[in-house]
């Protein structure tokens, strides 16, 4: 069952085409990564999904057509754009009370449990919290909502590695089950690689790839040969050849056999480099 269907989604900012005819179906119960360089169109895609941006094409979420922003869809979708988007003028307690009062899907028991396990200062203004604490608060209020879809748009931007790890571990532990869908937009794929089931590569507003992560990894291998045997790689016309100390590597179809080449499995960032390329131009 699809929880979202997107057909020919196109978005212009003035003359700039930020999204270019994106068509995809998002099934229920998946953890999907949206990977792209800065400015590739990841945030625009998420904001279009929620109706925050005017767009061309069709978007249907949970059976509801999204032409413009509809408050009602937030009964089923939680969205974390960036932890700095919390309201600095409220205290932690006021923020929690506010979200709890507005959301019928608020699970008070879970909120209490998460709060008990955190060291959030309830009477302190959000403005005075560290970025790590803001992350905890955002996680607490989001994970206390019994929603079907969680959209995360570069949620860990500016956080140190400890908080980044904790963030994704908490989401996986406290939110995910097979009835819920998570879409994570990031350009730091290494952090989420282990939890993603599907991956979307997006570049210059176009969807380059949308595939199951395991199957994608099976399709390709990294072949490493000594530098003087570079022609062995070149004859398979790889998009990118990486040089290391005395060796060269390339990502090629895993069906290919190269004699005396070292073969290893590529990471998502390797595959992203292969599919999209490394330059911003």
């Amino acid at each position: 069952m699809n929880i979202a269907e997107v057909k020919n989604l196109t978005k212009y900012y003035g003359k700039l085409k930020a999204l270019d005819e994106i068509t995809l179906n998002i099934p229920q119960g998946r953890i999907i990564g949206l990977l792209g360089k800065n400015g590739a169109g990841k945030s625009t895609f998420m904001r279009c999904l929620l109706g925050f941006l005017k767009h061309q094409g069709e978007i249907t979420i949970l059976g509801e057509t999204i032409k413009s922003h509809k408050e009602s869809i937030h009964e089923h979708i939680a969205f974390i754009p960036d932890v700095s988007s919390l309201d600095d003028r409220l205290t932690v307690r006021q923020t929690m009370d506010y979200v709890a009062s507005l959301n019928q899907s608020w699970n008070a028991g879970k909120a209490q449990k998460l709060l008990a396990g955190s060291d959030l200062p309830l009477n302190q203004k959000v403005a005075t919290l560290s970025k790590g604490m803001k992350t905890k608060l955002y996680l607490l209020i989001t994970l206390s909502l019994d929603v079907k879809i969680l959209l995360l748009d570069e949620p860990t931007l500016g956080l140190d590695i400890v908080f980044r790890k904790e963030f994704f571990n908490t989401i996986l532990g406290e939110f995910y089950d097979e009835s819920r869908t998570i879409i994570i937009s990031t350009h730091q794929v290494e952090e989420v690689e282990q939890i993603l089931q599907d991956i979307i590569f997006i570049d210059k507003g176009k969807m380059i790839l949308y595939e199951n992560v395991e199957e994608l990894k099976k399709k390709y291998s990294i072949f490493t040969v000594p530098s003087d045997k570079i022609e062995e790689l070149e004859k398979h016309k790889p998009k990118l050849i990486t040089k290391t100390l005395g060796h060269v590597s390339a990502i090629l179809d895993s069906e290919i056999k190269i004699e005396n080449a070292e073969e290893s499995k590529p990471s998502l960032s390797d595959l992203f480099m292969e599919k999209v390329g490394g330059s911003n131009e």
Binding site: R47, L50, F52, L53, K54, S68, H69, E71, S72, I73, H74, E75, A78, F79, P81, S84, S85, L86, D87, D88, R89, L90, T91, Q94, D97, Y98, V99, S101, L102, N103, Q104
Partner: protein
């Protein structure tokens, strides 16, 4: 309605500091008067200009005018703070980078804008009325000590003056609220500058081409105009204060202008909400 309540509580938390400022200004004003009196007392310099009660104006007139005048400071403060609060109503969340957080909550946009509108306008009305009530008590206790208190005139003076300021606040606040949906920063001044520009443009066109284009600021000033003491001098002497008060209710509240002001404010609120709803959230 629970959601509206939740939004209003949130807006109260955000705006309460600004709403309390007129109380502190009033407290400072009273403290200044008390200090001045105490200073004069200890210096032995307590020469008051006493009203000659036998030849002065009738008690009812004094009560009416004095109780209108006690609204001057809270009334003007309420207008100022209405502008301050409403000019940030629909753009402050964007400037504070929390628009996405608030817009990601499942609550009607009309509740969101309605709460901000109420907080900016009715919130300041409430503050003005509390200060006015305090001023009313202080001034009328003093008048009563001098046997110069007339309840009917005093209450009517205060209430009519309050209504006059509330109506002006409603129009100014609604206009500024509307501008806050269009401009991201300093909405009042930007909106006013544009209206001023249109006014001058129309005046030039009218003068050059002998046209009669309507001048926006002229109409707005008519709507905004404060009139608590309108007709006071001409009416009072021949007909007496009671008759003036009866007609003042018609001049200040029960007239077509009030209806136009309410409809105009409602239209501005609806227009602002429509613009805000249709803005892209980036």
């Amino acid at each position: 309605m629970n959601k509206l309540k939740a939004i209003m509580i949130k807006d109260w938390h955000i705006n309460k500091k600004s709403l309390f400022v007129p109380f502190w200004i009033t407290a400072g004003f009273y403290a200044f008067i008390l200090l001045s009196v105490a200073f004069a007392y200890f210096k032995g310099d307590m020469n008051f200009n006493m009203i000659d009660l036998d030849t002065g104006p009738p008690v009812a007139e004094i009560n009416y005018i004095v109780n209108m005048a006690i609204l001057s400071l809270p009334g003007l403060m309420s207008l100022l703070f209405i502008i301050m609060l409403t000019q940030g109503a629909l753009n402050e969340d964007i400037r504070k980078n929390c628009e996405l957080f608030h817009r990601s909550q499942p609550v009607s946009i009309w509740f969101r804008t309605g709460s901000k509108y109420l907080m900016g306008i009715a919130g300041n009305w409430a503050v003005m009325l509390i200060i006015a009530l305090f001023n009313f008590l202080v001034v009328n206790i003093i008048l009563a000590i001098f046997h110069q208190f007339d309840f009917y005139s005093a209450v009517n003076g205060m209430v009519l003056s309050s209504i006059s300021f509330m109506k002006t606040g409603l129009i100014i606040g609604s206009i500024t609220f509307f501008f806050s949906a269009i401009f991201k920063d300093k909405a009042f001044f930007q909106g006013f500058a544009i209206l001023l520009g249109i006014q001058f443009l129309f005046m030039i066109v009218n003068a050059m081409l002998n046209w009669h284009l309507p001048l926006p600021l002229t109409y707005l000033f008519k709507l905004v105009k404060l009139n608590p003491m309108e007709g006071l001098e001409s009416n009072m002497a021949p007909t007496g204060i009671r008759s003036h008060i009866a007609s003042a209710w018609g001049v200040i509240l029960f007239n077509w202008k009030t209806l136009i002001q309410i409809v105009f404010s409602g239209a501005l609120f609806a227009g602002a909400t429509w613009i805000y709803k249709n803005k892209e959230i980036k």
